[in-house]
Every structure is written in C-alpha cells, then in structure tokens.
C-alpha cells in the first residue's frame, strides 16, 4: 500500500513537472542530409530561456554585443508575430530548392528543402519572445 502511494505521488510529480516543462511546446530542429546524416533536436521550449541563465556571462555578452543592432528588431518581431498564429510569411521556390517561413498553431515554422539537405525548424512563438527579452536584458548589461 505504501509503495502504491509512493508510486502515485511520484507519477503525480512527474506529470506536474512534465506539464510545466512542455507547457510552451517543443523547439524542434530536424536535419536530414543526403549523405545519410540525420540530426534531430527536440527541446522543451520552456527550458531554452532558462538555459540562457546558465550560459557563461562573458559568452552571452559577447554574442549579444554583436547582435545588439538587431536585438530591438528581433524583440519587436517576436512580440508582434505572436498576433499572427496562422500566416504564410515567405515562400521561395527555385527548381528543387524551397524555403518556406510560416506560423502555425502559435509556432514559427521554417522549412528549407534542398537536393542534398532538408532542414525543418519548429519554434514556439512564446519562446522567441522569452529569449528576445533575455537577450535584451543581457545586452543592456553589456
């Protein structure tokens, strides 16, 4: 009986932790190369802004210093694009090559299709906003 209670408590905690971890969705990067290489990265979006806290400060400051001219634009874009959860933004086709940028279900989707590689990125818009705010804070402290 005690074991069952412990198991239930553990499961409940796991569900709660899982719910929090995945509540912002998943950042997905899938790369399929013609030479057989495959890279698949699935990261809970809620973790990414947290991870920025543990990146060594000097590295983050160096990166944000380089990106500083574009940070206001990135921040504005991340904030504004959330208002358009379903939109086809850019599509470029040239023979076998295709780049498609769109939003769907509150996520930014970027598909790059080339003869020797396919790259697909799915990025929750909420995460983009969180990251842009983190970077802006970091840049203001440079």
């Amino acid at each position: 009986m005690l074991l069952a209670k412990l198991a239930l408590g553990f499961c409940g905690t796991m569900v709660l932790a899982g719910t929090y971890t995945f509540h912002e969705g998943i950042l997905r990067v899938d790369e399929d190369h013609g030479d057989g290489r495959h890279v698949h990265v699935w990261v809970p979006a809620a973790i990414v802004p947290m991870a920025l806290h543990v990146v060594p400060r000097h590295r983050l400051e160096r990166a944000t210093a380089k990106a500083r001219p574009w940070l206001p634009m990135f921040r504005a874009l991340a904030k504004e694009v959330e208002k358009y959860p379903e939109a086809d933004l850019v599509e470029v086709r040239d023979g076998n090559e295709r780049v498609h940028i769109r939003t769907h279900s509150g996520k930014l989707l970027i598909d790059v299709i080339e003869p020797d590689a396919n790259i697909h990125v799915v990025c929750p818009l909420v995460m983009m906003q969180d990251v842009s705010e983190q970077l802006a804070k970091s840049a203001s402290g440079v």
């Binding site: 009986m1 208002k83 959860p85 939109a87």
Partner: protein, 217 residues
C-alpha cells in the same frame, strides 16, 4: 473499521489528485503534440482565416511565366511592418525613415514635382516618349500612376505603379530628403484593397498589392 475507512478515503484522495494532475497534464500536452504531429516536416502551410478582417497585408509575388518552379511569395502584415521598421537603424534606414539625396533623384526636385502633381487636375500630365521607353505619370481618382514601358529592352519590361496620393503625401511628410515609411504604411493600411506595383517582362512578373487576406492569392 475506522482505520480501514480512513485508508480508503486517503487512497481515493491520492487517486483523485493524480487523476486531476494527469487530466491537466494531458489537456496541456495533447494540443501541443497534436499540433506538432499534424505539421509534419514538409507539410504545406494551410492558412486559416483566423486573423481579423481589419488586418491589412502587403503581398509580393514574383513569378516566372515560363516556369512554375520559380516563385517568390511574401505576405507581411502592415501592422507588423509598422512596428518593426522603426527598430531597424542600418545604412539609410533610421527610425522608420529612409534618407535619400539629390543623386538618387538624378537632379529632379521630387517635392516640387509632387506639388505640381497634387495641384493639377486628374489626367495625364507627364509623358516622356523616346526610342527606348515611354514614361507616363498621371494622377487619377486620388492615385498617382506611373507607367514605364521599355520598348527596346531585351526583356521588354513594363512597369506600372499605382500609389494613393494620401500615401505619397504621408511618405513625404518627413523632413527634407527623407521618406517616412512608417507614415506611408499607416496611410496605406486605411486604404482599400490596392494593387501597388506590377512589373512584367519576358522572364518575370512582379506584383505588389495590399488586401485583407493573410495568405496566398
């Protein structure tokens, strides 16, 4: 009996709490996974008409009449462009305005020209014809129309620009030698559906227009 009852109540409480947690968890996770699964890496973008009818979108299409495999499609909400442009300060673009100098205008006093256009009556008022091209500039029904037809150009290009005069006025509302792009976009957003630019030649066809649709034509 009493300890047994207490145990049952405790168990029921634990089970109930777990069920609530699991339900909450699933309610939160299922839409996320369903959305991820429904996308598929190369799934084509299904554009739902979720945006408000008041949203105005700027569309750009570049197509090749000879090949269906070459195309560029850009759809930008005017409001998004209005918010983002002032944040870009690079080269000639600053605070939503773009600067230009006399060299860009080939010695033409653009403001004087526009004043002349504004005060003139509707109809054709500038036509330049030579062996290479015909250029027509006109004001009609509150629009500035520019039509360029290059006769001897190897690609026989034909350019048509149609901009509401209110947008032109907004563009030139900034200081001297500056175009206020944000003011122009704001003026454009209160106009009706408008085809702004059409360029056609033997290789490409370019269209720029504004409407309230958030996706492809």
């Amino acid at each position: 009996m009493i300890p047994h009852t207490r145990l049952s109540v405790e168990n029921a409480g634990v089970v109930l709490a777990s069920a609530v947690l699991i339900t909450l968890g699933c309610a939160n996770l299922i839409p996320t996974f369903a959305a991820q699964a429904s996308l598929g890496p190369g799934a084509s973008g299904q554009v739902a008409a979720s945006s408000s009818s008041h949203d105005r979108w700027l569309h750009v299409r570049v197509t090749n009449p000879n090949s269906s495999e070459e195309s560029v499609r850009v759809n930008v909400p005017l409001e998004l462009a209005e918010k983002i442009l002032p944040t870009i300060n690079q080269h000639r673009l600053h605070s939503g305005k773009v600067s230009f100098d006399e060299a860009d205008c080939h010695g033409v006093d653009i403001r004087a020209l526009l004043d002349a256009v504004r005060t003139s009556k509707d109809g054709e008022f500038v036509t330049v014809q030579n062996k290479d091209s015909d250029v027509r500039v006109a004001k009609r029904n509150g629009y500035l129309l520019v039509h360029v037809f290059e006769k001897n150009h190897p690609k026989k290009s034909q350019v048509e620009v149609k901009v509401p005069m209110k947008v032109v006025d907004a563009l030139f509302s900034a200081g001297k030698d500056e175009l206020d792009l944000v003011a122009g976009l704001r003026a454009l957003s209160i106009q009706g559906d408008t085809e702004l630019v059409s360029v056609k030649d033997e290789e490409n066809s370019v269209r720029v227009w504004v409407d309230s649709k958030n996706g492809s034509d």
